[in-house]
Structures are given as C-alpha cells and as structure tokens.
Amino acid sequence: MIHSKALLLLSCDFATAWNSRKLIVSNKRLLPILMDELHLSALVLSYSPKSEQAWSHRRWVINMIARNCSTLQWIIERESELVEKIAERSKMNYRAWNHRCWLVSFMTREQVLDELKKSRNWSGLHVADNSCFHYRRRLMLRNLEGFCYTQDNNSSGYFVETYQIWKEELDWNESLIKQYVGREALWLHRRFLSMYLIKHMATHLLAVSCQSKPKASVDIDIDSLMDHELCLVHSCSTTIADANFEDFQAQAIHSAAYMLWLTKQIPEYQGIDIQEKLRAGVGDVTRMLKRSCPDRSSLWDYLVGYHSEP
C-alpha cells in the first residue's frame, strides 16, 4: 500500500497502482480503510483535478460503501461539495462534473431538490461553464423520472411541483441570458428546458388538470410558451447596444439558432396554428441569422429549407 501511494503521488494516472489498491481493499472492506482511499484520491485530485483514474477509483470506493454501510447519503453530499470545490479551481472540468452526475443516481428525491437549490448560486456565477448546467439538467431529469414512476394518488401534487421547478428554471435562465450577453451554455440549457416542457409535460398536464382539484394552477399552454420564446429571441437579436463590451453578435446568433432548433423539435401533431406561427417565426429567424452571421448564409438556407419540406 505504501509503495502504491508513493507511485500514485508521482504519477496519478498509473492504473496498475490504483487497481492493486482496489485488490487489497476489497479483501478487507472496512469503512475506515475505504475512507482512507477517498482521502488519498482527494489528495491526488487536488493537484491533478482531471485525472480519470482518480475519479473512477472514487466511484469504485463509493460502490463498495453502498454495498456495506449506511452512511451513503452523507458521503454523497460530501462528494458533491468536493466536486464543487475542485470545479472552482479547475474550470470546465468534464470529469469532475461527470462524477457528480454519476452521484445523482444514488440520490433521493429530497437530495435532488436540495442539490438543485444549492448549486444554483454557483452556476449563476459560472455562466460559461457548460458542465455545471449539464449537471443541473441531469438533476432535473432525475426529478422527472421520479415522477414518471410514481403513478399514485400523489402524482398530481408531485407533478405540479415538478412543473414549478421547471418554470422557475426557465425564468432564471432567461434572467441570466439577459444579464450575461452571448453565453452559449445558457442557450443550450434553454434548449433542454423548452424541449422537455413541450414534449413531456404538456401532455401530462392536460391529463392531470382534468382530474385534479381547481387549486392546481398550472397555466401551461404551448401557444403561449412559443410566443414567449419568440419574443425573447426577438429581443435578444435586435438590441445591438454597446458592441465593444458585450458580445451582442454572439447573442443574436445563439438566439436565432435556438429558435431554428426549437422549430425542428415541435412534433407535427401539435396543431396547425402553431406551425403557422413557427413558419412566420422562421422567416424572421432566417433574416436574423443572415444579418448577424452572413458568412454562413448557405447553411441557414439549407437548414430552413429542410424544415419547410412537407
């Protein structure tokens, strides 16, 4: 064990050393020993935060703990905090965030909601880091999955809560888009949010609102959603205020691309008038795209032309 520790401190990706430690530890399986492994890998990660071997060793240890001991929830919380600390120092660390996403599968619903709340401030201050938004998407998906599997009397309450969370996330995302101009990660996050809202929740909502008590006030309606998105895209692509400091051109491109993407996601059965609105919207979008990024105009033409084929 001492030798492998020395080896790992020198060369953190030395898989054989990690595996030999796994071999020895799997014979003992005591909590203090497993915690030691976590300490060592945390030390290695402090100077090389992108070491995949170290992260996967942590996952192996947590799996071992999950099998034997009951302190899992507390460990998951600590892991989550560790990832956040490491991500602060090492930006866009896909492996760290991937590890955190893996932890989500062990979390209870309360933990998931808690994580969403706790990580919100951090994400708001790191709007260029797509990985942290990817983590939020993973949490929200987990929440949604939870709903799909609970088809009991409580489901409408659960659903309303899930819808509220989704709506809050959309509003928060919009305020960030307006505050931090031209951040692609925010627009990508919005794509996920709108698509899931339209595709999965709208149909559920119609079913639920017929059965549930009147006080479940969810006013989802694809029409008004699309209107809202069109408005947002319009406002983002037409304000070219202080071009020196804020990247308004990028904002215009991202918003127009978002609209184009959205038009392709709406399934055909959603109704004729929506298609009309989108077609009118798409006309605007093409103009916006060509104006803000003229060197790709043949690409825009192709994409839009593809859409309007019957």
């Binding site: 100077y47 602060e88 201050l125 790191h126 260029a128 020196n244 400091f245 804020e246």
Partner: protein, 199 residues
C-alpha cells in the same frame, strides 16, 4: 466570475511611479507556492497600468483570461483585476463606488502620501467579497449616471498600454515590486511559452 484584486493608487502628474494606498487580494485559487509571486505581479501590473492612466480616463486591459480595469479621477486611481466573464459595466460601477468610499473615509489625505501603505482597509476587503456576484455591482449602476458619458478604452494586450519603445521585459527587470524569484518565474514562463497566470 471572479474579482482577484482591488487596489487604490495615487497617481502623480509628474509621471513617477504611483503610490499604493490600499489593496485587497484574493489569491486562494492559486497554488500555495505561487501566491506570493502572484501578489507581486498584481502590484507590478497595477503600478504599470496606473501610471499610464491619465486623469479622467477609464481603460480596460486584456491579458490572457484576465481584464485589468483602471479609472483615474483627479489623481486618485482605482483598479480592479477581474476575470474575462465579469461584465465590464459592472466592474466600472464597482470601481466608482470604491473611489467614492475612499474619498468619504480618507478625504484628501492621500495627496501627501509618499510611501506605499500596506495597512488593510476593511471596506475594500468586504467589497472584494460582496461584489464577486456582478448582480450586486449592477445595483450600484442605477445611481451612477456618469458612467455612460465617459468612454472606456479597451486594450487587447498590456503592450498596447506601454509607450512606443517600452518593453514589458525591461519593465519587469527594473521593477522593485518583483522579487528575484518572481522575475525568474516570468523569464522561464516566457521561454517555454507557457501561460504565466497573472502576467
């Protein structure tokens, strides 16, 4: 979104090196052994840019993933070292606020300062923490109208701030802010073409 340092300097109209009046730095995200070097570089860059910010001017200098914002108001110069994502307008409204607070607390006593003042100023440290979130700085924006009237000059590199004929290397060598270790570090990083995190 990060503010690494806030500094207040006294700029002399005769063109001599500025005098440091107050500093607040957060170098916790640098490795332990780099921290003292980083602080020295911050002082060096602050003096260099502050010396070349004429009264009444606002400028922003881009260096790798940092932006150094500087505002000189009648000889009292305030500077902020922010990362690339911190919005520029929010930075300048924060700098304005720091200037106002400094004059409120210290009046005109700074005009006679001759030597660097290394005493901590609690307000500056608090401001460094509080305004890490640009939304806080944006709240200040509502009460500051003069920000829109003055143009902000953008420099893509530190070299464009220097006068013609001046080289950054020679300034680094002559600087009394940088210890021998930091100068070595700078030369090494330049030779191997690495990103020298603050300079």
């Amino acid at each position: 979104m990060k503010i690494t340092a806030l500094l207040v300097l006294k700029c002399n109209p005769d063109g001599s090196d500025p005098v440091v009046l107050a500093t607040a730095m957060d170098v916790s995200h640098f490795g332990y052994f780099q921290r003292s070097s980083v602080k020295e570089f911050i002082l060096f860059v602050a003096r260099t840019v502050g010396k070349r910010t004429p009264p009444g001017q606002r400028q922003s200098v881009q260096h790798e993933e940092y932006k150094v914002h500087s505002y000189n108001r009648n000889g009292l110069c305030v500077m902020g070292f922010m990362d690339d994502h911190y919005p520029v307008r929010s930075s300048f409204s924060l700098l304005n606020q720091v200037l106002d607070e400094y004059q409120k607390n210290f009046g005109e006593s700074w005009r006679t300062a001759q030597a660097d003042n290394m005493q901590p100023w609690p307000y500056l440290n608090e401001a460094l923490n509080k305004y890490q979130d640009p939304a806080e700085a944006d709240k200040l924006l509502k009460i500051q109208r003069e920000l829109d009237e003055t143009k902000i000059i953008l420099h893509k590199t530190i070299d464009s701030v220097l006068a013609r004929g001046e080289k950054l290397d020679s300034l680094v060598e002559k600087s009394s802010d940088l210890s021998a270790a930091s100068q070595m570090f700078y030369k090494q990083a330049k030779k191997t073409n690495q990103c020298c995190t603050i300079l």
